[in-house]
């Protein structure tokens, strides 16, 4: 019996060493001759896997043999309940450290502070919820794995017969109910404030910006000097009129197209959200803004940017930082690349930028529509067909 054990042990170590050697060989080989873009042959991975399987099998056999020899010598075999209990404690400690590490390292990689007014409230609520849930998370996981270790099987003991205890059950029904009620109340009012956002009387009107999603880009439309956007209709969409502006509406004459979404800081913005083909989603995470763009169902989101791009660049220490709007609802193959730059600037810079934007009513469109109206000189810059 012992010789069998010895044989197995020998075989086991051989296998282990062989595996080590294999890993070593493999570790040196690719760095030597392989170019970075070529991946290691699949055979190599299969080999590693097979070797691991062998090792596992052999370790299993060794354990079996060890158990049997113990039994033959009238000693106790391995107590797997103890082993698993200890594994639970190790997992608890390692897991808690891992969670802490994640919070410390990856927690530092999350979005910077909110760049919009309402976002600050969202962030506050987020951190409150995080603190509460992390407390519950730690307590429950510690209890779970702690109990597993503490009450692991012992043949001389019996469980404690405890079918129920109404008092404590009431406590732990009511306690979460209260905590959740508080969270709901705050959440509800914040949500109402964010979404109930028609311009109040006396308040300065928000700046209207139209954003239209289609496969696979966003189109922007700013109101011109009249401060109003003209009507649109999906039936008017064409190669030259990308968002279907209705030029029968005189408010549309000075509507401007833009490549970058410039926004004046500390001004209320009303994003009017449209989609032409499938559902998209306007997602501007730095501003805590998201709303789906649904064909046939125009929606809007009102918010106030509070941090200019320049300031944010300083804050995150990245001179190339840009706010972005991207698509966050699956919309087809290029869903993963549907972005537009958002720049938050001071009012004066915004006005200067706006003055340089081209109108939707290009010469080409005018020709198409046999447009008789003559426009003021300011907008008669070179108006080549906007691809």
């Amino acid at each position: 019996m012992l010789s069998l054990l010895a044989a197995f042990l020998l075989l086991g170590t051989n296998m282990l060493m062989a595996q080590d050697a294999a890993t070593d060989a493999a570790a040196t080989a690719p760095s030597g001759d392989a170019t970075p873009s070529v991946w290691l042959g699949p055979g190599y991975y299969v080999l590693i896997f097979v070797i691991i399987c062998f090792v596992v099998g052999i370790v299993g056999k060794i354990l079996r043999v060890y158990d049997l020899t113990q039994q033959i010598q009238n000693k106790k075999p391995i107590n797997w309940h103890n082993v698993m209990g200890i594994c639970c404690i190790i997992f608890l400690v390692a897991g808690m450290y891992g969670a802490y590490w994640e919070f410390a390292v990856q927690g530092a990689m999350i979005l910077p502070e909110s760049a919009s007014a309402h976002g600050v409230k969202i962030d506050e609520m987020f951190w409150t919820t995080t603190v509460l849930t992390v407390i519950v998370f730690v307590i429950t996981q510690v209890l779970l794995f702690g109990f597993l270790f503490r009450y692991r099987y012992n043949a001389n003991r019996r469980g404690h017969f405890l079918p129920h205890n109404n008092t404590i059950e009431k406590v732990w029904t009511i306690a979460p109910a209260i905590v959740l009620t508080i969270l709901v109340i705050f959440g509800f009012f914040t949500w109402q404030q964010i979404t109930n956002s028609l311009d109040a009387k006396g308040e300065q009107a928000s700046i209207n910006v139209d954003i239209t999603g289609h496969q696979f880009a966003w189109e922007l439309r700013y109101p011109g000097t009249d401060g109003r956007l003209g009507e649109t209709s999906y039936k008017l969409v064409s190669g030259t009129n990308k968002v279907g502006v209705d030029f029968k509406d005189k408010f549309s004459y000075d509507d401007l197209q833009a490549d970058t979404m410039y926004l004046p800081v500390r001004k209320s913005i009303r994003l009017n959200i449209h989609a032409q083909d499938v559902i998209h989603s306007v997602y501007m995470p730095h501003f805590r803004v998201q709303l789906n763009a649904v064909p046939g169902l125009p929606t809007f989101f009102k918010f106030t940017p509070t941090i200019t791009t320049a300031e944010m660049r300083r804050k995150v220490g990245d001179p190339k930082f840009e706010y972005l709007v991207y698509c966050n609802k699956i919309c087809g193959a290029a869903h993963y690349n549907m972005q537009k730059v958002v720049r938050v600037v001071e009012e004066s810079e915004y006005q200067a930028w706006l003055a340089q934007q081209k109108p939707y009513l290009t010469d080409q469109v005018k020709k198409d529509l046999k447009f008789a109206v003559t426009k003021p000189a300011a907008t008669q810059n070179r108006l080549a067909l906007n691809n």
């Binding site: 597993l148 803004v289 699956i330």
Partner: protein, 629 residues
């Protein structure tokens, strides 16, 4: 023991009384078109595991894409052909993989594979019935499911590839064949498959409900049913009420796709030309989908909860803590899950006031979930915990349910959901609470009832290995995703290469992929264990886990009808473990209270005044005897 006598008794009788159970069964009627609930359960299990392995491989494929977006893998082209030109997945096929992975896992594995297996196996065995109410419908249910699986997988063979609009198949994307290749033939197959699937699931669910209501053995009143049965019962009710709504949604989608209607379509411009659709609403589909979709997630988790409750009680050698509270919280979840669906639609343009209402109902549903968690912890407290593989998986289920449930509190808050919706935070949430927790519940069930299904034991040590690798792997895969979500990284992105700000997550993605590969490899330990034990495992004894429930009184060898002779009568609830005064630390449900005078408690006679009186009398004579001594 009483169980043995029942069995011996039966052997004598069964030649004449029950001869018809043993009529010559052909291979076809025994293994293929079987009407025996135990065989159907095994069919569901094996099909479910097969589908799970397929869906897992799909996930590894797209994980590789996320980890190495710029690398070419020649093998990929060999395997996938036109879907991976030059050894790189194309973007459309990436979305198809994600879609089919989600669909298979949610519906084919965690709905049919889980409920189909364990409801079929345990409802008759734990309630003391010879079979389901309608064995024939039960058989049909499996074959509809099988056909649905084949149709779903066959969509990989069509020219433009499988459906690829995400498992939620929102129109217009899924309704317009021109919007993406997957919305062509692949989508049609998806819809056909789902209709078959729902038919299967309804036939199953109707069977489960009628069996539970009508076919319980003598003495098995509702409050003596194990929590597994409660969970399966309520799950079936959820399915019956929710799935038809998805059929409605799907049928209207079929109309929009094939017959020119505009239920979901309106004001659409495609390829530069206005389409003739008017007056429909894409939001309507989302309402119909999530009216099923949310109950669906509880259809997935409730059986896992029931299984874990049972397994944890057996292996802690303690009654489940707060049995009534456990049942009421299941009922609460069942009812509430019908009025929270809107939390998936906070930012879809649904009326914000509705969003507020759904936020309130959503956070209410967290209360019964919390109660269940605390009760599980209390069940472990001062137990005598046996670490079987099943027990480990049940514990893993609880751990995942806590971790994933807590993030539900963020998402259920409409204001917070603005920034979290459709990011990796949601992916992390539902993979922990559903993906991991429900799969672990299912695996706990497989390890626990394997002896009942195959008459043999699985290897515990391999089970341990399987557990720890999978448990650690799942946490390594899904925990970091929370932080990606908090950085605003969207889900269903083919690559994170186009955004400067997302590139720093590439190393994390690589790490996640390797953790996923490790966890996937660990499943080989399970498959080997499962297949090996099926044929060559150690033969089981009658009641390997020393459990109280009825299935362990049925003979080990299977035959249609479950018990020889009479079906045993039930006298007590299923959780009399470690009862003080009892000889052993478990008292099966078939043992009458009159045989366990020394361990009876006044509590056992709550609705039985005559019994209580007898108990009081017995107790007082005991006392006087003591005094005499």
């Amino acid at each position: 023991m009483s169980t043995l006598s029942v069995q011996d008794h039966g052997v004598v009788h069964h030649e004449d009384d029950h001869g018809h159970h043993h009529h010559k069964e052909t291979f076809l009627s025994k293994y293929i078109f079987s009407q025996d609930h135990k065989m159907i359960a095994k069919q569901f299990l094996v099909t479910g595991i097969t589908m799970a392995v397929i869906a897992m491989i799909l996930s590894i494929l797209f994980r590789i894409q996320l980890a190495y977006p710029d690398k070419a893998f020649p093998l990929m082209e060999t395997l996938l052909g036109r879907f991976a030109p030059g050894g790189r997945l194309n973007a459309d096929f990436y979305l198809a993989l994600v879609t089919i992975h989600g669909t298979i896992m949610v519906f084919f594995v965690l709905t049919a594979g889980l409920s189909g297996t364990f409801s079929n196996l345990l409802i008759p065995l734990q309630l003391g019935a010879r079979d389901m109410a309608s064995p024939f419908m039960n058989m049909l249910s499996y074959w509809f499911f099988f056909t649905a699986s084949v149709v779903m997988l066959s969509s990989f063979l069509v020219q433009k590839g499988p459906a690829s609009g995400g498992w939620t198949i929102y129109p217009p994307l899924s309704a317009l064949p021109k919007a993406m290749p997957g919305s062509g033939m692949g989508m049609t197959l998806w819809l056909i498959s789902m209709v078959l699937f729902i038919a299967s699931s309804l036939m199953g669910a109707i069977n489960y409900v009628s069996t539970v209501l009508n076919m319980r053995t003598k003495g098995m009143d509702l409050w003596k049913m194990p929590l597994t049965i409660w969970a399966f019962f309520l799950t079936a009710i959820l399915g019956i009420l929710a799935f038809p709504v998805l059929v409605a949604g799907v049928v209207l989608l079929i109309f929009d796709r094939s017959f020119g209607t505009s239920f979901y379509l309106s004001e659409i411009v495609l390829g530069g030309s206005a389409q003739p659709f008017e007056g429909g609403s894409p939001i309507l589909f989302q309402h119909l989908f999530w009216f099923l979709g949310h109950p669906e997630v509880y259809i997935v988790i409730m059986p896992a909860m029931g299984i874990s409750s049972e397994v944890m009680s057996v292996n802690s050698r303690k009654p489940i803590f707060g049995y009534h509270a456990m049942v009421y919280s299941l009922i609460g979840i069942t009812v509430l899950s019908f009025i929270v669906w809107g939390h998936h639609m906070f930012v879809t343009g649904m009326n914000p006031f509705l969003g507020g209402v759904f936020m309130i109902t959503t956070l209410i549903i967290a209360v019964p979930s919390a109660v269940k968690t605390f009760n599980w912890l209390a069940t472990l407290w001062r137990g005598n915990i046996r670490f079987t593989s099943a027990m480990l998986f049940a514990i893993g289920m609880v751990s995942f349910f806590i971790s994933g449930g807590l993030t539900g509190i963020f998402l259920g808050n409409a204001a917070l959901d603005i920034n979290l919706h459709d990011t990796y935070f949601v992916v992390a949430h539902f993979h922990l609470v559903m993906g991991s927790a429900a799969i672990f519940g299912m695996l706990a069930g497989v390890y626990h009832w394997f002896p009942k299904m195959y008459g043999r034991m699985m290897n515990e040590k391999l089970g341990y290995l399987h557990f720890w690798l999978t448990f650690i792997g799942a946490y390594l895969v899904f925990f970091p995703m929370h932080f990606m979500g908090l950085d605003g990284v969207p889900r269903r992105y083919y690559a994170f290469t186009e955004f400067e700000s997302m590139k720093r997550w590439l190393s994390v993605n690589t790490f996640i992929t390797w953790a996923a590969i490790m966890a996937a490899c660990a499943q080989v330990a399970f498959l080997v264990n499962f297949i090996y034990s099926m044929f060559w495992g150690k033969k089981t004894v009658q009641n390997p886990w020393e459990a109280n429930t009825l299935e362990w009184t049925a003979p080990i060898e299977h035959f249609h009808g479950n018990w020889h002779g009479e079906i045993p009568t039930v006298y007590r609830w299923p959780y009399d473990y470690s009862k003080p005064g009892a000889e052993e630390d478990f008292i099966p449900q078939t043992v009458p209270l009159s045989q366990t005078m020394s361990s009876n408690l006044p509590h056992d006679f709550e609705d039985n005044p005559a019994g209580l009186e007898a108990h009081a009398k017995w107790a007082s004579t005991q006392k006087s005897n003591e005094e005499v001594k």
